[in-house]
């Protein structure tokens, strides 16, 4: 019994740790799609910010605050560049997004060599990670204290941000205007909203979320930078955004689902299952979730059409 409680709380803690970067990135994707800009560059933003967090961490002798700041600012810079291309220059968001994702992978590898003269992996004892926090109520349930093992304040923050984004999008005037732009850009423009300005700001600010995700990767459970540290989490976040229909709460649940898949996948590595199979679990889950999501979208659409037809018939019957 004791063993299984420990085991479960370890899985839960791992789930939370796996979930937070995905959650932050999918929130970024969600606010962008609410504002009618298609953002697929979370992967790149995250990688750049993870890298600069480590760079600043190393050169300031372990200043966590400055590292987090560097992560946020670098990610915002990348997002602003992306926004400039998509919104100002009207470039295809897919092309620009992919360009940023591949560039950031190459760029970080190159800069790692420039700054640290190493390839592949950079790790130093002088690097300081994010502060790990155990909430005060953890001691009330000794069996479950493992649940909060290794969680940093950014992990907790990601959940607070999910709620904050929800309140911002659905309760404030600004959020309402951003959603309106997403629903009908031309209508918003016709009423005097500087649509491009709103979109540019939304996209740039979404960089903050990816920046936080980035520093979680390089300064969270471990403090280091390796090539391709994001390992496709940005793309999983894209799927989480689809699955959660760009609604902050939906997106949070979808991210949690992917977090569970990742943590279960890594725990099953300790069993006799082949590593290749357990490693594939999160990605297989992504594909399955995408399929389920698109089937559901289709069903909802069909139901809507059906209801609309029924209404028309009723109206005609009433008219006659």
């Amino acid at each position: 019994m004791n063993f299984s409680w420990t085991y479960i709380s370890a899985i839960i803690s791992s789930t939370f740790r796996m979930c937070s970067p995905i959650l932050l990135c999918s929130l970024a994707a969600a606010v962008c799609s609410k504002a009618n800009v298609f953002n697929i560059a979370m992967e790149g933003c995250m990688m750049i910010s993870a890298f600069f967090a480590i760079v600043v961490n190393y050169f300031t002798g372990g200043s966590v605050i400055l590292s987090v700041l560097a992560a946020i600012l670098s990610s915002m810079a990348v997002s602003a560049l992306l926004a400039y291309f998509i919104i100002k220059l009207k470039a295809s968001p897919v092309v620009v997004g992919m360009a940023i994702n591949t560039t950031s992978s190459g760029l970080t590898t190159y800069l790692m060599y420039v700054f640290f003269k190493t390839k592949g992996l950079f790790q130093r004892p002088s690097l300081v990670g994010l502060t790990k926090v155990t909430p005060f109520f953890a001691s009330w349930f000794p069996e479950l204290s493992q649940m909060f093992y290794g969680l940093t304040y950014v992990d907790y923050l990601s959940w607070v941000l999910a709620i904050a984004v929800y309140i911002f999008m659905y309760k404030t005037v600004l959020g309402y205007r951003i959603r309106a732009i997403g629903i009908n850009q031309e209508a918003a423009r016709s009423l005097g909203t500087p649509v491009e300005k709103y979109q540019f700001i939304t996209m740039t600010l979404s960089g903050i979320l990816c920046g936080l995700a980035g520093c979680l990767l390089s300064m969270g459970s471990v403090t280091l930078f390796i090539q391709n540290i994001t390992s496709g989490k940005g793309y999983i976040a894209m799927t989480a955004n689809n699955l959660g229909r760009s609604h902050p709460i939906g997106v949070a649940l979808a991210s949690l689902f992917f977090g569970i898949c990742q943590s279960v996948g890594s725990f099953l590595q300790q069993t006799s299952l082949k590593g290749q199979i357990t490693g594939a679990i999160p990605y297989v889950a992504t594909i399955l979730a995408s399929i389920v999501s698109s089937i559901r979208t289709k069903q909802i659409k069909e139901r809507k059409i059906h209801e609309a037809m029924k209404k028309t018939v009723e109206r005609q019957e009433n008219a006659s």
């Binding site: 404030t172 005037v173 309106a180 109206r315």
Partner: protein
């Protein structure tokens, strides 16, 4: 006088859209601007609303000379516009749509209650009934239009421009709209109504400005004129009275037998439909839309293949066959919606003319297109149908509705096949283009072609059809010969009434 537009000139390339146009408007007045598509009436209103900039001319609003750069400037001067294509946020509520950009906020938070109350008051004040909490997508078109009107009122507009407001409405909704226009004028709002529907103009306008080919032809008082004079001024000639020459129909071109189709809900959308179209006749199907006409046409043209019963086109059994087979058998189709089915908006005119024919030997060899023949064909049809365009490389979306319809009509009628299905061939197009399309359909009939005409416009059915079927609830219930039935009786039958009532 609250508005004076003087000597406005606007050119696009070498087309003069507005040629020294002058318009004025008094307080509390309804001014109708009538004219055919392309007469320049929309352009002059776009200039007034700040959507376009005039090349020269003067605009004075409430005694102040203005030069609007955007609709925002116009709104600040209390000018609002209800556009033909609504500018609404579909998945938001009525309230959210109306208060946008002028929301009542509490510390940056959207104050749901206060905004809803504001909308309720406004809607009661002007008798424009809406449910503040309804989602726009769930509202009928008439309600959506009321929301657009409320939007302009919320922005405190005193001069409201309506661009073809009745084009999208059902007859009942049109009555409501006309009543609303009168009430708004009574409440002191000044209204400009752009339209080409003369009966609406005669019902509400105080004065009428007629435009043709970019110029103002005349401005008249409603009391001093009538629809005949107006249509003469609009078109520049008297409308021809089209008469069907008696004609003996020949062999059967289209035979539909016991066509039955179910729907997802288990209800029969088509229930044992039998009909026949013979060479040299136009057969009309009258009905309120949604009674199975769309499905019937989809079955005959092969867009729908899951049905029972048989369809024979020119002697070939094409039951449950695909579109291409049926077109090869000898059928052409002018679809109900000119943009959804009829054409590709982003493609050039010559490409649109080619569609469906790209595999024929005339226009391609071994899969390579013969550009010269294609362009020649396009140019020939553009000239023959007098479509107003610069050249055949233009994109479809740059054309007005009437011209787009002419292109589709030209493509389908000029295909050398005996049978044509024409669905709503004149929906939303002006009198000139309508007459032209009618003339072409009759011309095809006189040359021994067969035409199945599906239309919700009764006058069209009555004028053109040698035989008329009435469609109600998935069945063809009644059949009449030309001249045997009138609009009133047909209208009753279309709603499921009995013939002898």
């Amino acid at each position: 006088m609250i508005l004076q537009m003087k000597d406005i000139v606007k050119t696009y390339g070498n087309v003069v859209a507005n040629d020294h146009v002058s318009i004025d408007l008094n307080e509390g007045e309804i001014l109708a601007i009538v004219g055919e598509n392309g007469a320049g009436k929309s352009t002059i209103m776009k200039i007034l609303y700040g959507l376009e900039k005039a090349d020269s001319g003067e605009i004075t609003v409430w005694g102040e000379k203005v030069n609007f750069r955007s609709p925002i400037d116009a709104m600040k001067h209390h000018i609002g516009m209800v556009q033909q294509h609504f500018m609404l946020f579909g998945s938001m509520t009525v309230t959210e749509n109306i208060v946008y950009n002028n929301e009542i906020a509490k510390n940056g938070f959207f104050d749901r209650k206060a905004n809803r109350e504001k909308v309720r008051q406004l809607s009661e004040k002007y008798g424009l009934m809406v449910d503040p909490d309804a989602i726009i997508d769930d509202c009928p078109v008439g309600t959506q239009q009321r929301v657009e009107i409320l939007k302009t009122l919320y922005q405190d507009a005193s001069l409201i421009i309506f661009d073809e407001p009745s084009a999208v409405l059902t007859p009942n909704e049109v009555d409501d709209l006309l009543r609303t226009l009168r009430e708004l004028a009574k409440a002191g709002k000044s209204i400009i109504l752009i339209t080409h529907k003369l009966n609406e103009v005669m019902a509400v306008a105080d004065r009428i400005t007629v435009m043709r080919a970019g110029k103002v032809i005349k401005t008249l008082n409603r009391a001093d004129t009538n629809t005949d004079e107006l249509s003469y001024l609009m078109i520049g000639r008297h409308t021809a009275d089209l008469q069907l020459r008696p004609h003996n129909p020949g062999e059967t071109l289209l035979q539909v037998k016991d066509l039955t189709m179910g729907s997802a809900a288990g209800k029969k959308v088509l229930n044992g439909v039998n009909l026949e179209v013979r060479a040299g006749e136009i057969v009309g199907i009258a009905g309120v839309s949604g009674n199975g006409q769309t499905e019937l046409v989809r079955c005959i043209t092969g867009l729908e293949r899951e049905y029972e019963g048989s369809v024979t086109v020119c002697g070939h059994d094409v039951s449950n066959k695909g579109v291409d087979t049926i077109r090869q058998a000898g059928l052409s189709h002018i679809p109900e919606d000119r943009y959804v089915w009829g054409s590709a908006r982003e493609a050039s005119l010559s490409d649109n003319f080619l569609m469906g024919e790209e595999n024929s030997e005339k226009y391609s060899r071994h899969g390579v297109l013969k550009s010269k023949q294609i362009i020649e064909h396009a140019d020939k049809l553009i000239a023959e149908y007098s479509v107003k365009v610069d050249n055949s490389r233009q994109k479809m979306k740059e054309l007005s509705g009437g011209n787009a319809q002419k292109i589709i009509t030209a493509r389908e009628i000029e295909r050398e096949v005996p049978l044509t299905i024409a669905c709503e061939p004149t929906r939303g197009i002006d009198i000139g283009a309508m007459e032209f399309v009618h003339e072409r359909l009759v011309n095809k009939r006189d040359h021994n072609g067969g035409i199945l005409l599906v239309s919700s416009e009764l006058s069209e059915i009555l004028k053109l059809s040698d035989r008329i079927y009435v469609m109600y609830n998935g069945q063809l219930n009644h059949e009449f010969k030309h001249g045997e039935v009138d609009e009133r009786k047909l209208g009753k039958l279309m709603l499921g009434g009995k013939a002898d009532e």
